[in-house]
Amino acid sequence: MSQLSQATQGLASVPALLNRNVAQFGDKPAYREKEFGIWQSWTWAQTADEIEALALGFLEMGVAEGDFIAIIGRNRPYFYWTMVAAQSVGAVPVPVYQDSAAEEMAYVLGHCGAKYVVAEDQEQVDKVIDVQDQLSDFDQMVYLDPRGMRKYDHGKLHQFSKLQEQGRAAKSKHAAELKARSEKLTYDSTCVMLYTSGTTGKPKGVVLSNRNIIESAKNACEFDKLGPDEEILAYLPMAWVGDFIFSIGQAYWSGFCTNCPESADTMMTDLREIGPTYYFAPPRVFENQLTNVMIRMEDAGRFKRWLFKRYMEHAKKVGGKILDGESVGAMDRLQYAIGNAMVYGPLKDTLGFGRVRVGYTAGEAIGPEIFEFYRSLGINLKQLYGQTEASVFITLQPDGEVRADTVGVPAPDVEIKIDDKGEIFYRSPGVFVEYYKNADSTASTKDTEGWVATGDAGFFEEKTGHLRIIDRAKDVGQMADGAMFAPKYVENKLKFYPDILEAVLFGNGKDRCVAFINIDLTAVGNWAERNNIAYASYQELAGHPRVLDTIQQHVETVNKSVAEDPMLSGCQIHRFLVLHKELDADDGEMTRTRKVRRVIVADKFNDLVTALYDGSSEVSTTTEVTYEDGRKGSISATLQLRDAAVVPTAVQKVAAE
């Protein structure tokens, strides 16, 4: 591995990268955070100073090498420092989803045996205190925001800034030890441990080494030519691997600046103020933004609406081509330039994408129209395919080779193979070390040669060499007549409608498919307002006959489109219902990264699935819901079940007879 170390100039850990950044870009901003209405910033030199103070504080607190330090909070510079400080004393940072309920947190903290917790505020501290009896290894806690904390027993509780003060005061005592510990870090030391959200079963702790993170970050930076002048907005959960790669891995490798929003609610304003050059968002964020633009355009004056429509049509025609560097006529270019001055530029600015040079989306399929919309504006939005176990990057779309239905070519240093069942395997320097305390799962996911099973089914397009993902391999099943059942394929088609937030398809082993649908409250609510439809609650709106009519039209259109593919025509939706509640991570129906947990949904709403199959026209049901603070309640509803027209497929009938 000496060769690899050479490739990164012997920089074998994040603290080592920090030192290099201080030497190279000492006076450049490393972090910004909006607080008290102003962007506060820290240079690389100041960052190193803050991190050192905290690391010394950790030593004063008694942190030993190999201890786990859990971090619970939203994206703030202090927590990024905590991760690096933990690494420099030889401890392992474990970021935890801050919106987890106390019980979920108890599992993660208990599983890794976290001795220390760094929490954001009273709310998070209270959650940990609630479950501390279940945590035999837990010892001390640090909190950031002192509000409401004065009356707590401070025997084992420290304020972040005070801990840093103690660290600074004890510098002479611990400096040598700190230096020794950070110099001991190698490419094989653990960089971070991240818990996968897990669509099935308990979360698994993915151990990623410095090699995994640094090599992956380096490769991806080189792939997109990211330099020290990039700006990113860190707003995705810190416990998610993507945020770790972008805001720590790539930020430290390239030396660019990480900007943290003021609060979760101000993210859009902060995005506009910062104008990131490198941006990542899951498809949902792009969908929401597009929905908002369309809603606001409806409210605009007639001239503006005309202007918007006219130039968006032109952008649709040539915008993508210009972005891909294809040849476009001079007149078209001129018109596009005018459109850019009048519509695209101001719109991009409003959305906060005025400066985006490289934008990525991943995690779910993105609607082709949504994707094209952003690209036609001249935003270089691309797709990538990744996993926690791969330190994110498996495939990436190179500039100029971007399409809505593929996920790109293998990332640098990544090898991919596809087995005879269609499952995708990969091998790369980013491949995780192991699942913590779970040798069985490690062995079943990663073979001895280092190939990792993704659990996704896909294939390479022959012409372009780009990878296409079909579905989760385990979700792909067979219908009773032997036809292929690929739920995601149909669900994605449904979700591309702005008024459908989520869809779940059932039909594995059955003779026909049925579906649950979640409406998008913003889009449907706006529609209701325009059509003078009064509603008192989500539930009432979701059950409104006219809403059902609209959804039915969507379902039938999707059926037509599904029927065009002979392989998947069996997946047409025969019956559907609109759910009375939004699928929610607090109720366990989704993961914290908002992926539907199919099995749990099927189990929880078993009565509804049965009703869809037995032909009844309505069904009454009661569902338990969990509030954010962990309390439980229940909602009951009577749901209408609807039949949707399906396209008969001659081929299939012949096969069935």
Partner: protein, 272 residues
């Protein structure tokens, strides 16, 4: 001046000081109507003091006497140990007493930030001309005031509506902005007139949390009027109960709850 000899520490660890404001034999009349009749009570430093009572009991009138909006025909108000002569509301405000209103009194067309900045009025000394050219002292002053306001915005978690005109906000948030404006005056006594009227359970919980936090973090003395008994009993250290302009009870929530006169006033008995 303040007698702190009988200060004590509450169960949850807050220090309640001596009497900071005392109302002695207050009587307030509007023509022939007696709104408040011979009421005496005191407010201690650092406590949350509630005034409760059925509709028309004279609670808001009492708050208006404290804030200087009404001058009582009889009785005396002592503030920090000294007799307070009849005053205009702005003079009372200059003494460090701020309030919110039952029926929200914000500038609807102005942003949240500007509304809260108006709460800093008593802390701005620069003249009209200096503020107009916005140089030197006026600028420094505004920056300093903005800092205080931003801390309050952070405290009440309203960053996302900083630049939103108040008229576009829902009711619950308007109430929060009003609280923010009162806090911007950095008052020593905060008067809240029905801070939770018309709110849903969640909004009430939030507001209760903020009231407790204000009291806890800034040590602000709070006098509040509230209808929701659950909220009052949970929040306050001591409660005054009024009925038909008279005081019928005064004490800790537990004492008041078991007071027969209070039970009668709330559950209703024939007045014979």
């Amino acid at each position: 001046m303040l007698d702190t000899s009988d200060s004590y520490v509450t169960e949850d660890g807050r220090t309640i000081g001596g009497v900071v404001m005392e109302m002695k034999n207050i009587t307030l009349r509007f023509g022939g109507v007696v709104a408040i009749k011979d009421i005496s009570f005191d407010i201690r430093e650092g406590e949350i003091r509630a005034i409760i009572g059925p509709n028309g009991a004279g609670k808001s009138s009492m708050l208006n006497v404290i804030s200087g909006f009404y001058n009582p025909q009889e009785g005396d108000v002592y503030y920090k140990g000294a007799l307070r002569p009849p005053m205009k509301p702005y003079q009372v405000a200059q003494q460090g007493i701020a309030r919110t209103f039952q029926n929200i009194a914000l500038f609807e067309g102005m942003t949240v930030l500007d509304n809260i900045m108006t709460g800093r009025l008593n802390h701005m000394k620069a003249g009209l001309f200096a503020q107009a050219i916005w140089k030197g002292k006026a600028e420094a002053e505004e920056v300093a005031n903005r800092e205080v306001v931003e801390k309050i915005i952070d405290f009440l978690e309203i960053q996302s509506i900083r630049k939103t005109p108040v008229g576009r906000l829902p009711y619950g948030l308007k109430k929060r902005v009003e609280l923010a404006r009162a806090l911007a005056a950095e008052p020593s006594i905060l008067l809240l007139d029905e801070p939770m009227a018309g709110m849903n359970v969640e909004e009430k919980e939030d507001m209760s949390r903020f009231i407790l936090d204000v009291n806890d973090e800034f040590g602000t003395t709070i006098a509040l009027i509230e209808h929701d008994m659950g909220v009052v009993m949970d929040l306050s250290d001591r409660v005054v109960v009024m009925d038909y302009g008279k005081k019928i009870g005064d004490g800790t929530p537990d004492e008041v709850r078991s007071n027969q006169a209070v039970i009668d006033a709330y559950l209703g008995v024939s007045h014979d």
